[in-house]
Subunit: 390 residues, 2 copies
């Protein structure tokens, strides 16, 4: 195709810097190798088959997904080992079975509730298919999962142990946990402590299961901060970070990355100046950026995002998206002074760095890919699709 | 088709109650008639041609849109009078012209910046097309627009006045404002005061324009709270409310509607119980519900949404979505007591009422329509599409 540049794109658009993506994904592969665990990247952030393959250096390796729409998409793209890491609703078992039958993929499920475990086993027998299921363990986040010492662990394992998996039912595939509370750690030392809690939770649960005679082949942990800072993962078999591919202002704030590692941003146009109110108006608002303001916990004044020139490494000093409406973003200075209006005339472009790339990227059906190392900062070298929805 | 019921739907799904939609839209048509103004509903909430026609009692009447994707969609669906009510970026003028050329619709634009007004006129001359443009007035929201007494008003009007519109350029079509600050009013009396500020802002600006010899045919106001509570709209020609079709917890909190008027909700499945932490886990999280928590301003304890039984009129007393992660929602009691787990077994369904229906609906590509007055509360009587993105 003739060369498309950022200037040709309508706004808002989602821009992905491939140089940063390649560096971020290579770094995490090194971490997994260093920690001696497998890497099963969580694709809930990128939701892209192209990016999943990049995360595995070209291979269609194990992936984690957050929806059955993702499961179906990655299975259709040739990924064979897929973990659906949200506790499954019983009504979704027929859909899950259909994905496995139609694509031949190994789609693993998770639960922490005995009634769901029983429903999975029953559905497996009815469908003549053995669902492989991991038990969700809570390691302190308090979102989902049972504690490692829960009295429910062995009953769950029993419910998931088909007497003969060849005839269908359920098979216990392992245990998993997610240390999402690492996002709120005050420093790297606290992330390390949480990473050790995360490790201990699943290793303890796996030990209890094995002591009771159950196989527990998969011992799975994962969050981007703990994956990057854990001292060791002894007893763990795999990790499932996802956000690391792109990073965002939140991860920069919590110490997972530098500003110049953030690989995605929203291209926006300046559409008005309001000197009396001290803001530039851009055409990227609450839908284009999401209403996630999580990064302000670590980086006060971030608002709905920092902004940079599209080709720059660093955000513009002092500028942030102070407020959003559905399709309007108000960009002002963090110190309350007037922004430099002359530097940002109507029609000029800004790239908004997201608070939380998982939420922001979900508003777009495609990435416009740039790569400063190939074609310069402005050339759009590819468009990659995403799978949104459910 | 054979009857589909809510039980057949995968979760999360977006459910629309047509009985409530019909009542809400009829009420706003009555209000417009009572106020003696035209109704140009803002389709940024519903983003559906079927619903736009319902808002006009079957006619393809005037509509407001928030993106050029909406403009293209509504034009293709036969709507002829479309107002794109976000300040236009100069780069979008070729797209806007293409929509007008391809569909024959009258697509009006807005701006408040002299450089953009000049760019519109120049593009119109270059394209041989007369862009009809409204000047955006700020009435106190402080998001976009110039004050009614701004010294920029007449220069803007001059820039938008083509000497001969037959040869292309720009034509001043009127003035508009949006009293979005009515959302934060403490009571109905304050909404009425804001409605009067809103009216005065555009009527004053229109008067200044006419005194300077400009035609100003359109004098446009609009927000759901002010449209419902304004004492009068003397001098106004049209109003542009949008959220009223669906309402939401925010509008219930600010006094625009009752809980039983809220027409949309997210159908979710219970997937786990965590008695130790006092919550039910549902499969609708930050993406399915959005991270908008605006309703808590008026209704503390709303969290990310209230929940009800799918067929019920009222939310379940005391239950709310306390926290969300990307695909997880934590439902607990507002008083901190344990929820009734037995009443909500895994696999049971809940309908989550949104904080802000504009943001929540944008995560879905379709509505599953129910109508208690036709087919009962559970039968899905239609699927209606939406136009998302940009």
């Amino acid at each position: 195709m003739s060369t498309i540049t950022l200037a040709d794109l309508s706004t808002p658009s989602l821009i992905l810097d491939r140089s940063r993506l390649l560096a971020n994904t290579a770094r995490m592969r090194q971490r997994a190798a260093q920690l001696g665990v497998g890497l099963r990247p969580h694709m809930k952030t990128a939701k892209s088959a192209t990016i999943a393959a990049i995360a595995h250096d070209g291979a269609k390796g194990p992936v984690t997904v957050s929806t059955l729409a993702e499961a179906r998409y990655f299975a259709a793209a040739g990924f064979r080992d897929i973990l659906y890491a949200v506790p499954v609703a019983p009504q979704k078992l027929d859909q899950a079975a259909a994905i496995m039958r139609e694509t031949g993929c190994d789609l693993k499920l998770i639960t922490d509730h005995p009634a769901v475990a029983a429903a999975i086993a029953e559905a497996g027998r009815r469908l003549g298919l053995a669902f492989r299921v991991l038990i969700k363990i809570d390691c302190g986040l308090g979102r989902a999962g049972i504690p490692a010492d829960s009295e429910l662990l062995l009953p769950l394992a029993a419910a998931l142990s088909a007497p003969d998996s060849a005839t269908g039912g359920a098979v216990l595939a392992g245990v998993l946990t997610h240390a999402g509370h690492s996002y709120h750690a005050k420093d790297i030392a606290e992330i390390r402590r949480i990473a050790e809690d995360e490790r201990l939770a699943v290793v303890t649960a796996a030990g209890r299961l094995r002591a009771a005679g159950h196989a527990c082949p998969i011992v799975s942990v994962g969050s981007t901060p703990t994956a990057l800072h854990a001292a060791h993962y002894d007893g763990v078999t795999e990790m499932r970070p996802g956000n690391y591919m792109f990073f965002d202002l939140f991860q920069a704030g919590v110490g997972s990355c530098r500003m110049e590692d953030i690989a995605v941003g929203v291209l926006a146009s300046v559409v008005a100046h309001h000197p009396g109110r001290g803001h530039l108006l851009i055409d990227a608002g609450g839908l284009a950026l999401s209403k996630d303001t999580g990064a302000n916990e670590h980086l006060p004044g971030t608002g709905y995002g920092r902004v940079r020139q599209p080709g720059a490494a660093q955000p513009l000093p002092g500028l942030a998206v102070h407020d959003v409406h559905q399709e309007h973003g108000l960009v002002g200075r963090q110190d309350g002074a007037a922004p430099d209006f002359a530097a940002h005339p109507p029609g000029s472009r800004l790239l908004v760095l997201p608070n939380h790339s998982c939420m922001t990227a979900a508003m777009y059906d495609r990435y416009f890919v740039v790569d400063p190392a190939q074609g310069g900062p402005d050339a759009v070298i590819a468009e990659w699709d995403r799978v949104n929805g459910w």
